[in-house]
Amino acid sequence: MENTAKPKKILRFVLSALIVAGSLYLLQRLLMPKYVDGIVEGAFVAEYYREEKDHDVIFIGDCEVYENFSPVKLWEEYGINSYIRGSAEQYIWQSYYLLEDTLRYETPDVVVFNIQSLQFNESQNEAYNRMSIEGMKWSPAKVGAILASMKEEEHFLDYVFPLLRYHTRWSGLSATDFEYLFKTKRVSHNGYYMRVDVRPAENVPEGRPLGDYSFGDKAWEYLDKMDALCREKGVELLLIKAPSLYPYWYPQWEEQVEAYAEEHGRRYLNFLELGAETGIDYTTDTYDAGLHMNLSGAEKLSVWLGRYLQEEFALTDRRGEAALAAEWEEKISAYNAEIEQQYQLYGLERKEEEP
């Protein structure tokens, strides 16, 4: 009797454990936001892991990179294989850890970092933390990103078991949550978030005076770490300020970044001051009154930056690599298809490409 009772108990325990683990896993998959429609920015970070990781240029930063530069254009024009690792309001410590994460997989020639996020010395919003971090694969970099980002009310355990954070989402589940339970879809073009619509920049407000224009210690610390990491890996670090008119970029901030770049021997480009060179027209090249570029603006910036990258960092044209070119062909098709789709969505007529 006892001989049969023990194996039965073990079997019961194993089955119960499997049911518990399986159901909790399913619940977590179901309740986590899918980011496949609406706010798609939350899916950007995870998309990178599906890529062949052999990029020449990696962009790191917030919306000022993932909405303002088009890797497709960089490929089409210069044969530069690039990827944007950016997410909404990505804080500089998150950028650092995303860079650390990226360098686990590949060593690009150049890392382009947008310095707008220097303005923040602490995470401002838990939702942005989640969108930047949740998509990362588990690694010391992800742990570092969580620890550096958590606000007072956040818990590390909620990142380990996101079900604890999203436990209330059961009341707001939609068909999308079930459809994308075990799959996902591409929502970016090598990290680029496309918008084709136009909303001219008018009456852009001046920045209100600040009590203190100095960037915070934590922000500087992570820029230093980024600089050191790039040196250690032999990667060029290009600092940029994207041409977004808002949030306001103060001259005092500009001075600090210029001084830093000079002191550390890094190149720094402020696209706000390169309007004549890039050809950005704020009446046609932004979709939200100057905060971000639309497709037209992003492609203009990419054309200019691609040339700069080639000239300054001697990047080679890789369009001759058959496998890579084939991969890009697919990406270009998807890119063009979305352009068409968005033109229809916004009821716009596509202008013929200038010769």
């Binding site: 049911i19 518990v20 159901s23 619940l27 909620d158 604890l164 436990h167 209330t168």
Partner: protein, 530 residues
Amino acid sequence: MLFTSYGFFGFAGALLLLYYLIPRRHQWKLLLAASYAFYLFSGPATVLYILATTLTVWYTALRIGQNADRQSAWLKEHKAELDREAKKAYRERQKGIRRRWLAACLLLNLGILAVVKYANFAIANVNGLLGLFGQGARLQPVSILLPLGISFYTFQAIGYLVDVYRGSQPAQRSLPRFALFVSYFPLLIQGPISRYGPLSGTLYAEHRFDGAAVSRGLQRVLWGYFKKMVVADRIVAAVGTIIGDVGAYHGAWALVGMVFYTVQLYADFTGGIDITIGLSEAMGITVQENFLRPYFSKSLKEYWRRWHISMCDWFRNYVFYPVSSSPLMQRFAKYSRAHFGGAVGRRLPVYLSSFTVWLATGVWHGASWNFIVWGLLNWAILMLSEELEPLYDRFHARFPAAGGFGYRLFTVGRTFLLICCLNLFDCYVNVGDTLYMLASIPAARNWRILWDGSLLAVGLTGLDYAILAGGTLLMLGVSLAQRRGSVRARIAKRPYAVRFAVWYGLFLLVLLMGAYGIGYDAGQFIYNRF
């Protein structure tokens, strides 16, 4: 450390694991270390208070115990040579010494409690009086950290001291063992205020791992979390909104607020006690029950036998009996019998002793007049019920059918409403506001809020109400089922698949419907503030 925090889950989980891994003779030492670690987490600065109470009560009890032992030994030794009077005189002298030790220790510990908890209340009242007499001088409020669970551990320690003084409990010689009795962490948050005798028996014992017992304990913990996280922490949003704005929420709102608060208080307090008792049970430690389906009471008197049982026991044992049997009260009893006749004269000393108990109960609940008024109102209603008892008896003799189910239901409903009204004093923490709110209910002209959607604008959605209704019904169902014995025991007799479905289902309910995480205000237990 909140019971609902991840930190506590980790702490309790690690403790449970270690508890059964280490040699059993060290289990109580681990509990002591864990209790002090728990206390230090809550604020290292206040650990001195609990240490002071532990040391002074332990030492005093030891002295009292030694004195009693010496007295017995001396009397035994001199039995032959002393007459009755000499023995009595000697006993009286020794008792006087013990009484002085007791009084000094009580004074010190009640003094600490009074200073940290009531100093600012006293200062505010003195300032109020000075203002009445036009005095410009004002006392400044003092800034003192309120140590975690001071009301609970002080009363528990005092109970032990009095038991030793009465000779019903031998003094504990080991300071660390006594320190564990005072600081045992599950009791620190909100009790139960346990008596030394029953608790120490299991607290210091060696406990062998028993999977079924651990499982039973954790089942009760889970049920406690259900009450706390699904019901209490969800309804708190509406309670906070309603009682937070006296000007906007009156009339029917006051009725809604007091019913909601009464549900919250039940789920919060009984849920917390379930966690305390369940966690202890998982470690083989028996903690006394603190509730017996209180909202099924048919009178206020019955309610106070079923709600916060440990506190009521404490006041009965350590306030009511000493006061009613004190020489002063004996003299008053004689006086009242002589002047008011047998019937009234016998009752007056009892009522006066009860008055002392309810005044003390009110004061114990908090440094605020609303608690004092709450205590005295309880006393007044209880005494009035006592006086009306013969009238009830006559009514029941005349209408025997009034003992049926319908009538019993009516008395339960009536008592629940009465408790709701009394709870308003706790809710508003202000006598004027409470009386205004109580008066506003019968005069209410805003009953439409009950159906016009206004209830959806006090921090709860329709879904929240659905969850609360489900949770409350579940609590009600379990309480009804408990009348036929332990629900857990009955579930335990069911096949494994049923047991698994019940407990894992409850776990999922807490996990998915619990009001925790960002967006919810993870609240400390209500009784923690008392």
